[in-house]
Subunit: 226 residues, 3 copies
């Protein structure tokens, strides 16, 4: 899958600061190609397909830099999962979200994993069981997307967010992305032990020294990104 | 307990598609009978009582089909827990929710388990410590209920939701209900492995083939519910 | 650290019913003293510092009575973590919240632990990566604070909440605070077993008998707080 390979390449590129997943055309992503799925009616094929798809989603979570979904049109099934799997998401006001596999007799089980870790469980369950769309404002209200912009201002809104992240120290951003995702799965005490260790390491980076000096001296920091 | 037995019966009835828990009278459920509790001042009795009640709540979570709470009037203590334990909930606009045991010197500990898995923790804590009611719109805003309807439109709102679920393939709905609840408790990687396996199985069901064919052919699917 | 010692003292004082963490001056808490941190550029020093800070936060979680943050001005970095770590929070309308370490090249890793257990993950991630402030109404909307009051009514709002808690049975409140925090980290079945046991013990307290009798007799309870 092209996205998986691209993510692999990006993971090894130390100069990357932030990744935006965007789509050409009218839709963000409508999920799997159902014709292709139906043409291979074999369980081993499906297992391999869903495993591969889940690996892409986990590759986003594990990518060393933040990933932002830029959502226009519809994001359905694995497309909605993709939005949920990103660290941040910006949606056009006309964008809509659904986990609509249930309409085709196929409950969106893998999308449910990502969705239920983004929004309250009854909301996720309603989307999964009814297959109905929610609009961008509802997705924002529920925490599935961070920001909603008028359609013609979508790029500007994404740019504002990426500019904010790129203005930060790369070492601090990479440190944070990795620690945030890992600590989510830990009990409180373990999470604090891990976070304290990560933060002490972060303090030893050149940029933390520079950033704190700049703060104290009331000037802009000059990042060396290490 | 009548509800527990009924749930046991429903769990074994393959023709059931969806369950609505509704109450006659003015209140949805006001929790335990305090007079009865007080008449048996014995710890073993209470342990047995709360264990039995917790089993009912878990039976809802484990039921093979979705359970919808239809809430009118008040849902307090174990009644609020019942709403939180259902997969979905529809409330009348005049409905109110509280975990009010604290007013009687009895912190709603078992309701807290379900409530804190539905709403943000500070909100759950406020309800549990103050015993105060929240109204239906607040419950909706917090994710405790899915939909709020005018009192005289409550049945219509519940019917709309059940009709949506009953229009789906039973095998897909049952697959989804079970997988959703289980994956919630897993770390991300394990959840994806489980969900991928479940989804591959779902693809082998007759209904998934029919549903995808219908989607491709732009016609309504004819479910065989298997 | 003064707060840690004070919490230790409060933990052993059986007469304490509820704790309010408030600050003098214009800000609630702006986190660590960056000058002091920078003056000790040693990893072992930082590890010790963050470990100590994390212990204060966990001491709040483990305190036998509820802890309320009274927030005016800004709550940044460890100050925002402090709000997130409290059981409840009341904010002045002009209060603002940020995890702004990223601006100084230091990702707020330990604050992320508390924040991500209070608000939806994409919202926490946005605050952590951008370092931007959210206002009190947004914090309320996201579940980071329970109540927002006009600045000149902040004390009245805090008083209302503490009065509500102090009007309850101390044994029920202490029982609840401890059980709530512990059950959050358990799988559902284990949480119910634990909660059922706690609730049966709570029923054996004098206050539960008195509270239920008062409820049945439609009179105010006379707590003995045991």
């Amino acid at each position: 899958m092209a996205l998986k390979e691209e993510l692999g390449r990006l993971a090894n590129d130390g100069s990357v600061r932030c990744v935006v997943i965007a789509a050409e055309g009218r839709a963000f992503c409508a999920g799997h190609d159902l014709k292709q799925m139906r043409a291979n009616p074999d369980k081993a094929y499906y297992q391999e397909l869903f495993t591969r798809c889940a690996r892409v989603m986990q590759a986003i979570v594990e990518l060393p830099v933040p990933v932002i979904a830029r959502v226009q049109g519809i994001a359905t099934a694995a497309g909605c999962q993709l939005v949920a799997s990103c660290d941040l998401a910006v949606a056009a006001r006309s964008a809509r979200f659904a986990v609509s596999g249930i309409n085709a007799g196929l409950f969106c089980s893998t999308p449910a994993v990502a969705l239920s870790r983004n929004v309250a469980r009854k909301r996720a369950m309603e989307m999964l069981l009814t297959g109905e769309f929610i609009d961008a404002d509802t997705a924002h209200d529920w925490g599935l997307v961070n920001r909603v912009a008028d359609d013609d201002a979508l790029d500007a809104a994404v740019d504002e967010l990426t500019a904010s992240i790129c203005a930060k120290s790369a070492v601090a951003v990479r440190t944070g992305k990795a620690m945030f995702q890992r600590q989510l799965q830990m009990p409180l005490e373990e999470a604090y032990a891990f976070a304290g260790e990560v933060m002490a390491c972060n303090m030893m980076a050149e940029d933390a020294g520079e950033g704190i000096d700049a703060f104290i001296e009331k000037r802009a920091p000059h990042w060396r990104h290490r």
